[in-house]
Structure formats: structure tokens, C-alpha cells
Symmetry: C2
Subunit: 339 residues, 2 copies
């Protein structure tokens, strides 16, 4: 266990100065404080120094370029609510901290956490390009990532839905409705969750004995590009249903199909992922695989609490549900058989 003395020895300064820096005293230069904090982290000193009566603090770090959270209809609002519902009764103060690349570049994750007295973080909306994604490979302060996975580091955990289960529910539903040729439209595969869902699509199709190959899937960075490039191609191939990597693509696909003269769900069935608040109000209302966001937040707390207590959970996946609405129906031939 690293002590304040170890840090002082390493830097050749007094224990008092180290202690001041760790406690954020104002009579120490910013440069010296940063140097002391970085040395503390380097030596493995990541323990919060808790004064008596001081609250235990956690933070939710939100990359707000990628994810919205401030209003009740925003995607991450309920996730944060669920996290707080578990963390606050357990005696934690929870700070919600918007996080941009600049802040990430100015200090390392461990230093940031030590400096702000946070015991652990729940991280929302980070992509592979966020600088701290590299830090998490070797960081020491517990961190739980929503929809991102860091292998091996025992102080990191991944929380999300069971995308394989969700994809199987979607494919099974379509197969029961008579669909055999099913396509898949996706955002760019530059994030963990998009890669997992892409793989899950092919795996579910194989499991249900439905023919597929890479031509049945299309992914683009921009939704409009996906609609122009991949959707018409899938329709030409004769698919009768399309599963989409998330609800916004599914909604765009429904609109685009209708513009091309196809009726949804009569000619073509569409399924989304996430169950965004918009889904009951699209035209037709969207069948989708639900992420229970409040539960995801609660799982975030479960995982973080366990990491803080040295139980190194790596992954928590929530069960999914298929919410059947109006965008899926029997194929023409299956409907005929019934009539």
C-alpha cells in the first residue's frame, strides 16, 4: 500500500506538502499539485482520503457529444436516474459530469478521479476515439462503462443489454411471421455495441436456419447514406423484413420504404433496437428490442459497487424484451395461408 511518505520520498519534498496537494489546499502551485497527483497515481495511490463526515462520492461521466441526458425524454436520463436510485440510498453523493475530449487530454482518468475525490465512475456515451478509452486499459480507479468493453483490467466493467438474446427475439418473431429473407441496416461499426449487434444478427440467422451472407447487411456512418446506399439494394434483393441496429435508423428506413412505394408492414416489416421514447409515435409505431434504461442504470451501480469492493465483475448484461407494435406483420404468403 502506497503511503504519503512514499510520494514525498519519490519527489524529494515534505509529507506536509504532499498532504496539502492531495487535499487541494490553495497555497500550493497548480503545477506542483499536478505533479504530486500524477506521482501518487503512478505509485498506485488511488485511495480516497476521507475526512470524517465527508460524503463518499461517485460520478457519472457523460460524453455529451454522443448522448443526451438532461431532459426526461433524452436517452440517458433514465439510465442516470436508475444509477442514482441505487447509489444515493447507499450513502453516495453522485455528481453528473459532462465530459469532452479536451478535459480528457488535460489529465489522466486516475488523476481526475483522485483530484475530485471520486471513488468510481459510471461512463456513458464514450466512443473508441475518446482519449480515456486508452487510460481504462491500465487505470486503477473503478470504472463501469455503458456499452463499452475493456478486456483484462480488473477495475473496469461493461454494462449493457444481452444483444444476442435481443437479436434472437427479433429474428424468431420475424420467422414466425413467415419471413425468410431478412436484411440488417446498421450505423458504422466503429463502436463496441454496433460490432456486437452486427455479429449477433448473423449468429441469430444461423441459429434459426435462415440463409444469409454479408450482402444482407449494410452499415454507414450517416443514416442518410445508409438509406441511399444500402436500403434500395436490400429491397432489390427481395428481403421482406429489415432489422435495424437502432430505432433512428429503423424510423428512417420506414420513411424511405414508404417513399419508394413500399407499405410498412404490408410489403416490408421493420424492427428497431433500444425502444426510444419516439417508438410508439412513429408511423407505423415501431416494433423494437427494448433496453430497460432505469434497470441499466441500476446495474451500473451494482457493477461499480462490486468493483469498489474488489469483486471484479467484467460484464453485466440485462435481459431484453421485444416490444411488438405495428411495423411488423405476416408476409403476404403467410397471410394467405391463414385466410
Amino acid at each position: 500500500m502506497t503511503t504519503i511518505q512514499d510520494i514525498a520520498d519519490k519527489l524529494g519534498i515534505s509529507k506536509g506538502t504532499v498532504s496539502k496537494a492531495l487535499n487541494g489546499a490553495s497555497d500550493i502551485s497548480e503545477t506542483l499539485q499536478k505533479q504530486i497527483l500524477e506521482t501518487a497515481v503512478e505509485l498506485g495511490y488511488t485511495k480516497l482520503r476521507r475526512q470524517k463526515g465527508c460524503a463518499k462520492k461517485l460520478c457519472v461521466l457523460v460524453e455529451n457529444q454522443n448522448i443526451e441526458y438532461e431532459e426526461p425524454h433524452h436517452f440517458a436520463y433514465d439510465i442516470i436516474m436508475g444509477f442514482r436510485q441505487k447509489a444515493e440510498p447507499a450513502g453516495f453523493d453522485v455528481d453528473i459530469v459532462p465530459m469532452d475530449e479536451k478535459t480528457q487530454r488535460s489529465s489522466s482518468y486516475d488523476v481526475f478521479m483522485l483530484q475530485n475525490n471520486y471513488l468510481g465512475a459510471f461512463v456513458l456515451g464514450f466512443s473508441y476515439t475518446d482519449p480515456w478509452m486508452q487510460d481504462f486499459q491500465i487505470s486503477h480507479t473503478p470504472v463501469v462503462l455503458y456499452d463499452n468493453y475493456i478486456q483484462v483490467n480488473p477495475t473496469t466493467a461493461y454494462v449493457g443489454i444481452d444483444n444476442n438474446e435481443g437479436m434472437e427475439l427479433a429474428v424468431s418473431h420475424l420467422k414466425q411471421l413467415g419471413h425468410r429473407k431478412i436484411g440488417y441496416l446498421s450505423s458504422a461499426l466503429g463502436s463496441h455495441v454496433m460490432q456486437v449487434r452486427h455479429k449477433a444478427f448473423f449468429s441469430a440467422m444461423r441459429q434459426y436456419g435462415l440463409k444469409t451472407d454479408s450482402t444482407y447487411a449494410g452499415s454507414s456512418y450517416y443514416i442518410t447514406q445508409c438509406m441511399e446506399k444500402h436500403l434500395p439494394r436490400l429491397l432489390d434483393m427481395g428481403v421482406t423484413a429489415i432489422i435495424c441496429s437502432h430505432d433512428l435508423i429503423a424510423n428512417a428506413a420506414m420513411i424511405q420504404c414508404q417513399q419508394l412505394g413500399y407499405s410498412v408492414p404490408k410489403d416490408i416489416s421493420i424492427i428497431g433496437f433500444d425502444d426510444l421514447p419516439i417508438c410508439p409515435y412513429t408511423s407505423p409505431p415501431l416494433t423494437t428490442v427494448q433496453q430497460e434504461r432505469t434497470e441499466l442504470g441500476k446495474c451500473g451501480y451494482y457493477a461499480l459497487d462490486s468493483l469498489i469492493n474488489n469483486v471484479s465483475i467484467g460484464t453485466i448484461l440485462l435481459h431484453t424484451r421485444l416490444i411488438v407494435r405495428g411495423s411488423t406483420a405476416k408476409t403476404a404468403s403467410a397471410a394467405e395461408e391463414c385466410s
Copy 2:
């Protein structure tokens, strides 16, 4: 929410009789009690009726044909200890219940749980052939399964290690030591965890760019059969390392290699899975992928507690560690390069 009145109405008997049966009163025939309990379960009445001051009860169900737990050196001892370390301070009484097929056939899982006043179960050592594995597809009482996975049912969760991570650690370690031709020996693929590890082996080999195909793997129900049938075949193919699905196979493989005139690790490296208490004492001591059993038990409680609180966790995977001992070494050519 189902009430006692609903059960009474369905059976055409009085509320008092139902109440008596649910509370295990002795002046009701066993046949009638069973009928009332089964109807209660059928109607979704799985809530524990708690008298004031009554303890909350959980159980650990152990299929003791498959798993030993009574002595500190037994595999499941620490798992149960970890579970109790979390459950008991949280106010739960924990019963350890040996479970055989006969008991499972005599009543359904839900009825058993209701009858014994258990809020939830942590299940160890069940295989696909255990009758209740079917029950868990549709049961209502929270159940957490160690190393078994039930899809879709929101009151079931799976707890285990991240076998993909573990397998990648094993393959990466061997690759760093210069190994390119790596074989895999496994128990029969009739259990969830054996299927997952088998798949993980091929996936890890691909990820590290190492050539492999189905001939590089062999699985048998009996260890002796695996040693006679598959081990010599792998050696003839020229593998320089073998990963085994668990430590007992790894130990048998080391002994068999030595009997066939191969030196471990000079001629052939061997890696196991689980880190059983025997591993430091095999000859040579076995390099293996660790399951932290106390932590697994704690995760079992985390998952069960969340299911009881309607957070439907489906999967919790623990981070793994590779414990490097004496059964792995550089290949002859890699060793030469260094000298």
C-alpha cells in the same frame, strides 16, 4: 397481483383453507396442500408470505452428483462462502440444499421454493439433464445459475467467468512463448460452459492470427478416453502446446505426455482452466486460467438480489486471470533465438 381469494375462487374452497396451506398448517392433507400450492404457482402467486419477524430466506441448491462443496478444498466451498458473505449481512438466512433428480421430479421448482419460503435460489452443478433446467425456462421465482444460461426468462440469471477473456489470455501467453500450433482438449460438450470454452478457443486462435481447424480440438465424456483418443493425435499433428477445458484434464494430459516420453514444458506446454486447489501441486505446477470462486459466490448474490428487486440481470461475467506456473515455457526455437 394474485391474491389468496383468487386461489380460493379457482379451486372453489375457502380463503382460510388456502391460507392454511400456504402457511404449512398441519391440519390439511398433503394432497390438498400440493394442489393449492400448484394452483398458487399457476396463477403467479410466488410472493413469500412473511410473518412479522420472520427471516428472509435464500437457498443454494447443489447438484451434488456434479459438484463437491462440503470441505474447504472442494470446488464449490468458496463459491458458497462468497454467497453467504454477501447475503447474510444483508439480512438473509441461507440454506444449503443438496438436490437430486428425484426431488426435482417430485415437485416443480416454483412449488418447491414457495413450499420452503425461499425468495430465490443460487444453483450450482446443474447439467442440461436436470429436470428443473426445463422449469427455469418458465419459472417465476428468481434463480441464479452458476455456469448455466437460460435465455429470455427475466427471473433467471447466469453467473460465471468471462471464458472468452480467459481463453485469449491463454492463447496470447502461448503465442508470446513462440507457440503457433496449439491444440484443445475438452470434456464432452454437453454443458453450457464446455460449449462456451470450445467456441472461445477457436475464436481466440483466429483473433491472434493462429491457424486452426476442427482437427485441433478433441472432446470426450471420460478423461481417459480423451487421453487415449485425442492426445496422441494432437501430438502426431505436431502441436507444441495444449489448452485444456479444465484442470483435471490438464493434469491427466501432463501425466500422459510424460508417459509417452514428452517433457512438460520442454517439449510441450499445457494450460488448464479453473485454478483448482491441486494446481500448485501437480508436476510440474499447472499454468491455468483462474476462476475466483469467492468472487463468483458474491456475484451470485448480486445477481439474485437484483432479480428479487426486479432488475432483470441476465448475465454476470467475472474478469479472469492467467496464473503462470511451471507447465508452460518457450518453444525450442524461441528459446534458441534468445540464447
